[in-house]
């Protein structure tokens, strides 16, 4: 198979246990090259754990991670060059200014000074951060922090972008800008994986989707295949279950004085 026919990301039998709790129980997932892949699941489904193992931030107990056919955990340095990562729930080196942080990410990936400078400037403008380029990241708002982290993930023009909850706390205008950036990146041959809670967003934005719950993949494929006739949200609830009617909370009625 020619290299670009290989899936961008191929997870095979990933397992991860924390103490007694199995967070990821044998996940197989194929993300085709050039796809815009959505990863959805309820809280605690194992999305973050899966994405951490797929990006080299967490060692799997079992299983392999292939990025464009190369094994991440046996060739970490080569594979990490192809990966752009935006993890959720971690800090940044926030005593750097926005510009310094993006520069740092670029230099760590081996870019030269001119390339880093141009790209950092372009990213800051595209993400509407250019006014705050000289402000310390610690003083950014939550949304701005997400955006600068996204810039760090993209500065080395990776072949595969793995973004954990990239739209959380981002304002609607910036979110639309980010969607445009990601869409054109996919159009030019890149691959994007996003995890999200917002089904609507995934249905509109992504072409592929996987539903994860309890550490397993419940369904995966193109968005249309997975949702069938229903909306993605209805299909998701149907797959995951757990809907309860609101009638049990009859006392939660303020008007019944």
């Amino acid at each position: 198979m020619p290299a670009d026919q290989l899936p961008a990301l191929d997870l095979r039998g990933l397992w991860r246990r924390f103490g007694q709790k199995v967070a990821v129980a044998g996940i197989d997932l194929v993300v085709p090259s050039g796809s815009f892949y959505g990863l959805v699941g309820p809280n605690g489904a194992g999305k973050t754990t899966t994405l951490s193992m797929a990006t080299g931030l967490l060692q799997p107990d079992f299983g392999t991670v292939l990025v464009h056919g190369q094994d991440l955990w046996s060739h970490p340095l080569e594979v990490k060059r192809m990966l752009g990562v935006l993890p959720d729930g971690v800090r940044l080196f926030d005593r750097l200014t926005g510009e310094q942080l993006i520069t740092y990410a670029g230099l760590l990936h081996g870019l030269d000074r001119e390339t880093v400078a141009t790209r950092a400037h372009d990213l800051l403008v595209a993400l509407d951060l250019d006014k705050d380029a000289q402000t310390l990241v610690v003083e950014y708002s939550a949304g701005m922090t997400k955006k600068v982290a996204l810039a760090c993930a993209m500065v080395h023009a990776p072949r595969l972008l793995v973004l954990d909850e990239p739209f959380e706390a981002v304002d609607p205008v910036s979110a639309a800008n980010i969607r445009d950036i990601l869409a054109s990146y996919v159009a030019s041959g890149g691959t994007v994986i996003v995890s999200s809670h917002v089904m609507d967003l995934v249905q509109r934005m992504c072409d592929h989707v996987a539903v994860i719950a309890g550490g397993h993949v419940l369904a995966a494929g193109t968005v249309d295949d997975v949702r069938g006739e229903a909306s993605l949200e209805d299909r998701f609830v149907q797959l995951v279950g757990g809907r309860v009617s609101g009638e049990g909370l009859a006392w939660l009625r303020t008007s019944s004085g």
């Binding site: 931030l57 967490l58 060059r81 990562v85 971690v90 800090r91 926030d94 005593r95 760590l108 000289q134």
Partner: protein, 519 residues
């Protein structure tokens, strides 16, 4: 409500222990340490209790005052106050403030320092066992003293943390506040040493005065009773109760303020350009170095870790100057070299940036060492050469440089390995420096003691040569110390970087996972 808060504290403690075996190790070491302290205190008090009443009073007031002062001041500078049960978490519950305060105060006794203090307070009461009615007075006064300790520590820390809500202010003040406190101990010991052992009369005077202050009032009441001075006892009891009331009010007000005014950042600092990133080579190694250098300047935790270094010359002079000044270079070298041992812990979860990038462990290690040496090398060289010149012995410069740089290089190497193996909870950037993380201090101590020992043992050759050169006035041996120090230290640094780098590549993800589990 009070019982709920105490139970919450116990549950948190138990769950903390379940989370990591390190917590258990830390607790066991702390418990042994506490037990040791208790044995010493009880033995000392038992010996005191058979002395004449004046001695008993003197000792109880002095010990009690030191205890109270310790609780008020020490959390400000080193350990912080145990924030396992953070009052801010109760902001949304309708708990009467009085219950909250009492519950938090009683919860404050649970823990090694609290238990040691409680036993000490009891022992101070027990000193009066020969006199039943004095014991009856001493018991409530001991409780009062204990409450003064706990409530006082909460009052000082919460009052200060409100004062220091702003990041810049907080960071600068925290660093500045250390200076007089570091100097206080040596200065006091210097003063007391210069006068020889202070006489019993002088101590008695000090104790009498302390008895009238908030520090000693509670402990002085039984003394007055034993002397038959009921009026004096009542007056001191009044002072003690008043102190506790004022402290409780300060704490309550600070708490009320903190609950509705969470720390808010409004200032914005502007910086120009790329700083070190623009000046150092545009490689991963240059980037890591530039980042480390930037953090040494911008992150006060690094500055605090070596805050003692600029004060070393003053300390050495206070401690007698003369030939002791020659220890300046090696001491600074050890402190600054070992300073990078908590680097990964200081990164916190931001360490993922290195894991996600194609950066070798060696690059990570070497970059951090280079960043730290930019500061350490000039300081150590200046100290080593300066101390030789000031003491009028320029011929010992090679020996001093040898031992200083030997220690610096060895410490860099050792710290490179240790920081790849062990992370422990530290204050995260921007966190209140007066809050400490659970288990932080003991875990840090247990893992670091081994490293210190190793560094000292491995730099023994150049240290021995330098000692010989300086004491025997052998200039040739001094040059040998320089050669051995630089060569052996350099070799150990290379080994440390290589081993540390390899270990880091293997343990990096595990370190990140443990850092995340602290949060």
């Amino acid at each position: 409500m009070v019982a709920h808060l105490v139970r919450l504290k116990l549950t948190l403690l138990r769950n903390g222990l379940r989370r990591s075996p390190w917590q258990v190790v830390g607790l066991v070491v702390a418990a042994l340490y506490g037990l040791f302290a208790i044995v010493i205190v009880v033995a000392a008090m038992a010996a005191t209790s058979v002395q004449v009443p004046d001695i008993r009073g003197l000792v109880t007031v002095l010990v009690g005052s030191v205890l109270v002062l310790g609780w008020w001041v020490v959390p400000l500078v080193s350990f912080g106050v145990d924030a396992t049960v953070d009052p801010a978490r109760f902001a949304t519950f309708t708990i009467p403030r009085r219950s909250l305060l009492v519950g938090l105060a009683i919860g404050g006794v649970i823990g090694i320092p609290g238990i040691v203090t409680a036993v000490t307070a009891l022992a101070l009461t027990g000193v009066w066992w020969q006199d039943l009615d004095v014991v009856l007075v001493a018991l409530p006064c001991g409780l009062l003293g204990l409450a003064t300790c706990i409530v006082g520590s909460r009052a000082t820390t919460s009052a200060f943390s409100n004062l220091m809500g702003r990041r810049r202010v907080r960071e600068l003040t925290a660093a500045a506040a250390l200076i007089p406190l570091i100097l206080a101990g040596p200065l006091l010991s210097r003063v007391s040493m210069s006068g020889g052992m202070p006489s019993k009369e002088a101590l008695g005077q000090v104790a009498r005065v302390l008895g009238w202050t908030p520090l000693g009032a509670a402990w002085a009441v039984p003394w007055e009773v034993a002397d038959g001075h009921w009026a004096g006892a009542a007056a001191r009891f009044g002072i003690a109760v008043g102190t506790l009331v004022v402290l409780a009010m300060v704490w309550a007000r600070a708490l009320a303020h903190a609950l509705v005014n969470p720390v808010h950042e409004s200032t914005s600092t502007r910086n120009r350009g790329l700083g070190w990133f623009g000046r150092l080579p545009a490689t991963p190694l240059g980037a890591v170095t530039a980042r480390t250098l930037t953090y040494w300047v911008r992150d006060p935790r690094y500055a605090l870790a070596i805050a003692i270094v600029p004060l070393l010359p003053v300390l050495m002079l206070v401690f007698g100057g003369g030939s002791k000044l020659l220890f300046l270079g090696p001491t600074a070298a050890f402190l600054m070299g070992w300073g990078i041992s908590s680097d990964v812990a200081y990164d916190g979860s931001a360490f993922w940036t290195h894991l996600a990038a194609p950066v070798t462990g060696l690059t990570d290690r070497l970059g951090r060492v280079l960043g730290a040496s930019a500061l350490a090398v000039p300081v150590v060289a200046t100290y080593a050469i300066g101390s030789a010149l000031v003491t009028g012995r320029p011929e010992v410069v090679p020996a001093l440089l040898g031992v200083s740089f030997g220690v610096l290089l060895t410490a860099f190497g050792g710290a490179s390995i240790v920081s790849a193996l062990v992370v422990f909870p530290v204050q995260q950037p921007g966190e209140n420096p007066f809050q400490t993380r659970q288990g932080a201090s003991m875990m840090a101590v247990t893992s670091q003691l081994l490293g210190w020992g190793a560094v000292l043992a491995l730099s023994a050759p150049e240290a021995a040569l330098a000692f010989l050169a300086i004491t025997q006035h052998e200039v040739g041996v001094g040059w040998a110390a320089l050669v051995v120090g630089v060569l052996l230290g350099g070799l150990l640094l290379v080994v440390g970087l290589r081993v540390g780098g390899r270990v880091l590549e293997r343990t990096g993800t595990d370190l990140l996972r443990r850092i995340l589990s602290f949060a």
